[in-house]
Symmetry: C2
């Protein structure tokens, strides 16, 4: 038997990265063509005076970001990202998007030319020029194929091995099978689609809809109202995706876990919904809530709402996105929360009538 030819590295050890390490660590141990060891890059920090990498390697638990859940013994924490990626054929990138650029500069030139990556990062950049996704940024920096993974995946519930689904976007069908073998478990069901960007787009845009859902909760409205906002938000997301990147996105991706299911999950759980609820109940501006409740971290849905509005406004197509426009105006222009309903009776059967982008 030939020795295993493949090796996994996970870059990022937060809540979601540690959850991914549990799944992938258990899977590689059963895959003959993968080395058993998973290199797990951990941004070094001290926890009660001990190095976090030492704690993870001694106790097999990320006591800071995923307490209460053991990591497999074959997941080895390493403080040096260049060391971690050195021999990796499969690189899983799962860090907050604001740290991505620095990480890419660190590992640039240190990876195998034949390596490939998958991004578990939530986030997208939208400007007047169109959009930039995390896989695009990674691909430009490292010049390797990059896939995406996103779904209705609240990390703690997965760590508890509660059944859910996820979506992998991967252009190459053979590679998709390999990525699926790393992630699929009986409780974490992977569907693959050949639409890298569509998967990422869903993962970012759903946060804006969740802000809208949080406004509904803050207003004390009920299930009917929230379902209406989810439905309209989902259709506006899909309409926007097809408008920005219709040529490179498959509409069917929106019916996968990364689309429909993630919108629903995020509108009932998660911090975008929660902060938006506080925003309505307290009347405090969003940046103040970010300081008070997120240690100054930016709320993804709030950020993306601003970028989306700037894009649709510059294209002159805000009329086709009344909900996304209303959410923006409530977040940024002091419109009262109940104005979220203004002009929502738009006809979604005429999606093709949104003027095409000038770009």
């Amino acid at each position: 038997m030939s020795p295993p030819s493949k090796r996994v590295c996970i870059l990022g050890s937060g809540n979601w990265g540690s959850t991914a390490a549990r799944i992938v660590g258990a899977n590689v141990a059963k895959l003959a063509d993968f080395d058993d060891t998973v290199n797990f890059w951990v941004h070094e920090e001290l926890v009660d005076g001990r190095k976090l990498t030492d704690i993870i390697n001694a106790e097999h638990e990320n006591v800071k970001y995923l307490p209460g859940h053991k990591l497999p013994d074959n997941v080895i924490a390493m403080p040096d990202a260049t060391e971690a990626v050195k021999d990796a054929t499969h690189i899983i990138i799962v860090i907050p998007h604001q740290f991505l650029q620095h990480l890419l500069e660190t590992v640039h030139g240190k990876i195998l030319p034949s390596a490939r990556a998958i991004s578990l990062i939530k986030g997208i950049g939208i400007s007047d020029q169109g959009m930039t996704t995390m896989t695009q940024i990674i691909h430009r920096a490292l010049a390797i194929p990059v896939s995406s993974l996103s779904g209705a995946n609240i990390a703690n519930e997965i760590a508890e091995e509660k059944y859910c689904e996820t979506t992998i976007g991967c252009q190459d069908p053979d590679e998709a099978i390999v990525w699926r073998s790393l992630f699929n478990t009986p409780y974490f069901q992977v569907n693959c689609v050949a639409d890298v960007i569509g998967v990422e787009f869903c993962g970012a845009l759903k946060n804006v809809v969740a802000v809208g859902a949080g406004f509904i909760d803050g207003l004390g409205l009920g299930n009917n109202t929230k379902a209406a906002i989810i439905r309209i938000g989902f259709l506006e997301m899909r309409r926007l995706a097809m408008h920005i990147a219709g040529a490179s996105i498959q509409e069917s991706t929106f019916m996968e876990s990364c689309g429909l299911a993630d919108v629903i999950t995020t509108c009932y759980g998660g911090r975008n919904r929660r902060l938006a609820e506080y925003f309505v109940r307290t009347g405090k501006p969003m940046p103040q809530l970010e300081r008070e409740l997120l240690n100054g971290q930016k709320l993804q849905g709030y950020l993306t709402a601003g970028e989306v509005y700037s894009y649709i406004d510059s294209c002159g197509i805000t009329d086709h996105f009344p909900l996304l426009t209303n959410i923006y105006q409530i977040c940024y222009e002091n419109m009262p929360p109940h104005t979220i309903f203004a002009g929502l009776n738009v006809d979604f059967s005429r999606d093709t009538q949104v003027p095409s982008p000038a770009l």
Copy 2:
């Protein structure tokens, strides 16, 4: 000015019928071509020794089925259905489906030949022979055009005037405008589609998915899991509808409030979800829970789950509907609730591969 040529009758005065009466009563008062009076047929009963029709006409409140919400003064309760329909041009039928046949026999021959009806009844009959909807039953009995109305519409939330949407299925575009004018309000937004049966199908099938969602709650699982069940359930509903009646149903109807939004609402609120949760937590059989919690009334989702299974089993296509099959087996064949996840990883991109019905 010519006198108003149109007149509304509402047949049914339960929770949903009384809510509809609030909306329609307020709207006709503003519509020049409608007589101000709304005939409101109330199945007579005594409440604290007084006739319910007398209470409604004196106090303008259905104290039994929609307490706490005033009805407009122009809604006139009548105990005799034949009297109520006599001059009506627009008949709104909103009674539990098990009473429909008797009501139709009562009013048969008593309505205007030029009248038209709309069904707000939830329910559908599925047998080996295909399906029969409420509008089909009404049309066969009365030989008038029949439309349908369904959506994410928990009645009490609408009575509280919390924003929501609904869908009217109406073949004739001019008639759709009239029905919309009767129901649309700033808090109750009506979209019209030319798909009477699709709207009804969604309203009935979503209850089976809600039973599945209730099992998830009973098992103590989380948001990810529930979102997965809602997504798969929604896709199996659509797949089944296209299989049974693809020629007469529009797939796009599933993205309307009657489809996507109603599935979500019903999976988070409503009694189908609730009884299914009890079913798992208590281990009691469903008929016992119906006796204990619904005064022996049948649970719609439980009933429909049985009919659906009988249909897909007779067609030999259960493999294409793993979730609907699992829900059936848990309800009727003592399979344990956690088996709901068995074989759910079906590929929904190949919907056309479900064998066509032999019928």
